[in-house]
Amino acid sequence: MKAKVVGQPVQRLEDLPLVTGRGRYAGDINFPGQLHMRVVRSSHAHGRIVSVDTSRARAAAGVAAVWTAADVAELRPIGLREGPDAQLDPYLQPILAGKRVRYVGEPVAVVFAEDPYRAEDAAELVEIEIEPLPPLMSAEDAPGEFDSERGTEPLVIRKGYGDVEAAFRHAHTVIELDLSIGRHSGVPMETRGAIGRYDAARDLLQMYGAAKVPHRTRDGIARVLGRDPAKLHLYEGHVGGGFGVRGEVYPEDVLVCLGALRLGRPVKWIEDRYEHLVATNHSRQQRHHARVAVDEQGRILALDDRFFHDQGAYPRTHGARVADLTTGMLPGPYQMPAYRVAAHYRLTNKTPAATYRSPGRYEGTFVRERLMDAVAARLGIDPVEVRRRNLIPKSSMPYRRELDAIGDEVVLDSGDYARLLDKALAGVGWDKLQSDLERRRAAGEAVGAGVAMFLEKSGLGPRDGAHATVDEEGGVEVLTGSASLGQGVETVMAQICADALGVDYRRIRVIHGQTDRIAKGIGAHASRATVMTGSAVHVAATRLRARAIEAAAGLMRVPPDALDIVDGKVVRKDSADAISMELADVAKSLSAEGRGAGLTAEGWFETDHMNYPYGVHIAVVKVDRETGGVRVERYLAAYDVGRAVNPMLIEGQLDGGLAQGLGGALLEEFEYDERGQPLSVTFADYLLPTVREMPMADIIISEDAPSPLNPLGIKGAGEGGVTAAGAAIAAAIDDAIGIPGAVTRLPVTPVRLKAILDRAADSASKQPPMNADRRR
């Protein structure tokens, strides 16, 4: 047998074009005669559209067309990805706003011109008169009016199990917290882009710039246009990062398609950074009122949470998925005898929100782990010990919760949570770390450490398929319905195929994101690609191997079980140097005999449950008491992925996720003024971490608990770097300033932290109010 590449940190197949400037991103795609589209957006957060005057814009140089809502009246709004939803459909965003605007950045008109500069010139000439209405800027405020018939709370998600009331009645201690997670988002370095093109000869509509879920997006756009999906093809080129926000259906995707259809010329739209920050999905913002009941040992008896999910102005393609995932994943890796949650899904006059890497878990983990730290502080138990006492033991796996997440019953497939906690603590040298910090605090430094544990989910079913084919030159093509957002899908699929088939992974071409090549595909989201598509590739490649050996056995006149495939050659197991046959020749002979489709095989993988990777984050921070500044000195992320196909890529996923998690914990926030004007519309105001804000993190990739749900034991690795960053940083800051429970809101900006420190200083300087009362 040849050394396996699955499990090896092999170099990526993707890289060469990307380091030599040969990438083909949406912005790099051009067609002769193309028009450039510019969207005219609302500058008011809430208001009635009085008039939209496009006459000056239409008269401007190089302008082909200007449309308003009236011109696209026949279009249906963009529907939810999972299909019609009686509760949310009445709230869907129109392609162009006609009567009301509900957030700054909402598309009101669209200009088509000869070049992007002229398009922007003309867009400035569109005069929109809006009668402002009072904006609703907080999901916690009493719901307001969405329209004359509807309020701004489309739904409340309620879940739970066990006798919560009894648990709280008999609790030794009850702890209640008010916690907020800020509004931030994926913000990939490449903004969105879409190029629509109509091939009248074949009545074929094409859109370039697809990402994430091209097949779903095709169906979504087809529904809006009332077009047969078979006559709409989407093409994914290189994609400059997605993180959940890119690749969903947005009004602009529909508009380039409609433009190409109506104007008979290709239409190109490239989002600019201002647009990206006000028009592409936001995420995360929630406010939780959470209570936990515990016994004297700090064991959780019940968790009761009521939270407000700030959805922004409209539901987007995910509907209520983020709020739902929050409710389904909140209990995390802990035993929780009773649980009750109510998620108030509310609309506000902000940019609409949807999924961002680790949706619902980043939020929920912050809430749950803040509660654990509070329990530890209240009962005077070590925070690590409190967690240990509540962890679900390995012996209870698989562990069923009377709960569902996005419609999938929560059954934790495998895990040894306590063991990973030990690995993480050993990884940072926890005991020595504690004594070092103690010494430094004694010397006046505000330094501290925090631990947070979390549960992730991946491999959402139900099924995915792949084709593997050996061509007559011996090249192997793996055809998938997956998508690449830069995470290394091609390399990972090639590795899996290489081992199953017996060829060098570098000879394998992986196709993804082309809706005209394969009928179905789940794309790449929710850490599904490696689990679902990877398993399908494994099945297809295994079948392909069997077919090749069977065919070769006939040709070589040896029994199949005497044969093996090594480095693309069919060889005899007993004497590898004896007669052998190139896969290319097997392929040739098959097609010569005209047998079937040549040397090819199809593989499908189905699963009825998600699987659950899990992790531990440990943060060490230093606080500047005078400025409220926070420096992350050290960070460790430990993650159990069941089986690591390419450890180098997984470490990269965790490092990258961590940067986003720390961004949301310390820097990134979409701010608004009281009128609903966004204040984070440039990269000077929306603060992404630079190398200077990032610690050189330690990563532990663990393979203790392979998933029993797929042949390779894989769990998705895309999100574990993000999930607990907010929670770990909050705990570390509390520890550094010596104020348990100080951090209740993310991000922890210098101004907010300084305010916390000042309040503490004040109350310390004042006499305790008790005495004051007695004197009266």
Binding site: S43, H44, V104, E124, L125, P132, E671, D673, R675, Q677, P678, L679, S680, V681, T682, A684, D685
Partner: protein, 180 residues
């Protein structure tokens, strides 16, 4: 955003009041302002040019005298304007309150300015906009004094954008200081 400024007018309240309500004359004292049309005795159309560094805005719109309380020498002006180049719009409610003071009248000015569009969204802007607005008011006061001193001769600074050219920095910073 809301902020307060004061300016001193070397006239007794009664006279200051009459002057203040003589919009066509007052307008010439507003830095960068130009009166383009008198709609009625309470409504006026015009434009104001404002510069913040490289950003030269011209806000076109109208101002209306909302409440005029001749007894207590109070007047409130409601104004709205927008930049023809689409960089934003503003709604403002400005209350003037005249009270006798040493050397004449002290005019307390309370401004409630609401901005929309690009000018409102520049994250670092609001602090700077407030300081420039106060510079405006400081300069308005100086123009007013100059005009009174000149016995009602044409005011300076009319239809000239506030900028490094025309702001008397010191006065502006005093008025900024008075805010706290």
């Amino acid at each position: 955003m809301e902020f307060d400024d004061t300016l001193d007018v070397p006239l007794p309240p009664a006279e200051a009041w009459t002057l203040l309500l003589d919009i066509e004359r007052i307008a010439t004292c507003i830095p960068g302002a130009e009166l383009t049309e008198v709609v009625d005795e309470r409504t006026y159309k015009g434009k104001v040019a404002v510069r913040i560094g490289p950003v030269a805005l011209s806000l076109v719109g109208q101002a209306r005298l909302e409440e005029i309380d001749a007894e207590r020498h109070r007047v409130s002006v409601k104004a709205h304007g927008s930049d023809p180049k689409g960089r934003g719009s503003t709604e403002a409610m400005i209350r003037f309150n005249l009270e006798p003071a040493a050397g004449g009248t002290r005019v307390a000015i309370h401004s409630d300015v609401k901005l929309a569009g690009a000018i409102a969204q520049y994250g670092r802007g609001s602090g700077m906009i407030q300081s420039v607005a106060s510079q405006l008011i400081g300069q308005f006061g100086d123009n007013l004094k100059a005009r009174i001193a000149a016995g009602g001769a044409g005011g300076q600074g009319a239809a000239k954008p506030i900028s490094g050219l025309t702001v008397l920095g010191k006065a502006a910073w005093e008025s900024l200081g008075k805010k706290r």
